[in-house]
Subunit: 337 residues, 2 copies
């Protein structure tokens, strides 16, 4: 009799267990264990597939998010996975389970939000499934994308000595969640965080450009938080990492919030999820060249936040040059149940 | 202000509304409105994509279906859509929202059922999303398949004069649902129906073979019931149809149930959903030849159940040569809310 519980196993344990049930024994396919699955497409390109489920009262609260934002975010979280592999989205497939409390006006606004991002990123909505739901609104989107075979970036390519970088500010989305959950009064500042939480921009252009640069090794999107997501790179690449907390890029708004609310913004930046920018590891000999061009195109640096080490599985954190320990870890969907 | 409610609009109305939001303006793509979306793949083949969501207390009851059956059925309903286009499945993507009441033993059995059908049909589980759910178990599977361009069958190709055929018995699955909902005592007979309801076989081989036959025109899988699904062919092909109720193929078990329980098995066969066999329309000049070979391969005839007519949108029903009317219609996920 199996005595392990799902909670003990945790989300990553469950994913490992599923991967054991369904081993992919094909050289040109790659399944469970990265942001997207990779399938052969044509001589030059591979197909990328990713899917994400959002459930009311688990991933969002109907009295906190607008239907427009929800439509946008449902697609955005999937596009972020495509971005993390250096891909270009092609089509999206929406399954939606609609409880009787939802009206048509809500549905229309939801589709307007989805359509906005769909149009902006040339992701066609090509199909799906509509059904009733007894209780909670349930949304699942699957996105198909493509990427040139030679340029696809995986989590498993990091090497000791690589510089760990991110493509955007960290913690704004988690700050937005904090505002919502702790009912911090709405101001211009707190609304900025909520917007980052509800309408994260998928870093598609950054992912596509980075994937083509010689010297970019592993890549992942930051969905569960830097600390969680660096662990995934560490596990896939069999390496360790050290991160410099004071180098984590944070917005001027988050700095302002530190003064106003005495928030520990380094904790928020490290553990908060759903920033949906990209984290990449870069050959140290090529970083300067890459960053120089990156700066010209994207108008901010490819932020250095740490280094990949040879201490497999070990994450070391530094604050102003001093080694520190931290208790918290990124979000686990079953351990937080 | 929009005064239409979702219930008034209904499932098909909603799908039409979504299709208006997201028109697909590409010659070699086909989106909302068939069993699968069609995307370009390589010179010879197209890619097929379909997705289905199953929500506890809406599509299944945890005290009625075993986890093994649920794993099997979650994949089967998607494979049936691939079958309806004449395709071959390639990979599946599972999103699962797991409430705290579900234990690991359930999850293991679920994956065993899924793995059984996945192995049998060579459909690799390539990825997905695992998350907690506040209340109900939620399952979404997306399947990617492929089909030779020249052989893909659509709903929109029926022509007046075509013979309407089905590839299997009708009503067994609906009889199983009836047994479960009306708490009919379990016997060998009633358990047979429950099995048909919980473990429907996707007609992949039939779909693949039929799609290659010259003379096979429209094709669809029977998910919502013959009456509902013939309407979809009628709407897509701008035709009408007449069905002969007494020609609907039913199992010897359903005939037995008619005697034992006085069920109206023609109503069950016509309106009951989830048989997941295929319905196709066939050039009348080619039916005999096709049926002769079909019979040899599949050991039963390609059952004739009616004819396509030129009376666009009109469905006429006959019982023993007499025209009849029927009140019931197939399942609508919002009108039955």
């Amino acid at each position: 009799m199996n005595m392990t519980t799902l909670r003990e196993l945790g989300e990553f344990g469950l994913i490992k267990r599923i991967a054991e049930y369904f081993p992919v024994q094909s050289e040109n396919m790659s399944g469970i264990g990265d942001d997207c699955a990779i399938l052969p497409f044509n001589d030059k390109e591979n197909m990328l597939v990713t899917t994400d489920m959002l459930i009311e009262n688990r991933h969002f609260l109907l009295d906190k998010i607008t239907p427009y934002e929800l439509g946008y975010k449902s697609l955005s979280v999937n596009l972020s996975d495509i971005a993390a592999m250096g891909g270009t989205p092609v089509g999206a497939f929406l399954s939606i389970g609609i409880p009787s409390k939802i009206d048509l006006l809500f549905i229309d606004r939801f589709f307007e939000g989805l359509k906005f991002l769909s149009g902006k990123t040339h992701t066609l909505l090509l199909g799906g499934d509509t059904t009733g739901s007894p209780d909670n609104l349930v949304i699942n989107i699957a996105v198909i994308g493509k990427a040139e075979k030679d340029y696809i970036k995986r989590r498993s390519s990091a090497k000791p000595g690589d510089i760990v970088c991110v493509t955007g500010n960290l913690g704004d989305s988690a700050a937005g969640l904090k505002v919502l959950l702790e009912n911090v009064p709405y101001t211009k500042l707190t609304k900025y965080f909520i917007r980052q939480h509800h309408m994260p921009r998928p870093h598609l252009k950054e992912g596509q450009w980075l994937s083509k640069q010689d010297g970019i090794r592993a890549m992942i999107d930051i969905s569960d938080g830097v600390e969680s997501d660096i662990h995934r790179i560490m596990e896939s690449s069999l390496v360790g990492a050290q991160l410099e907390m004071d180098k984590l890029p944070v917005s001027k708004e988050l700095n302002l919030a530190q003064q106003q609310f005495s928030w520990n913004i380094w904790e928020i930046a490290l553990n908060g999820g759903e920033d949906y920018c990209l984290m990449t590891t870069v050959d140290p000999l090529k970083y300067e060249n890459i960053n120089e061009t990156y700066l010209k195109i994207f108008h901010h640096p490819l932020y250095k936040i740490g280094t990949i080490t040879g201490h497999t599985g070990k994450l070391e954190l530094y604050l102003n040059g001093r080694k520190i320990t931290t208790e918290k870890h990124g979000f686990d969907h079953f351990k937080n149940m």
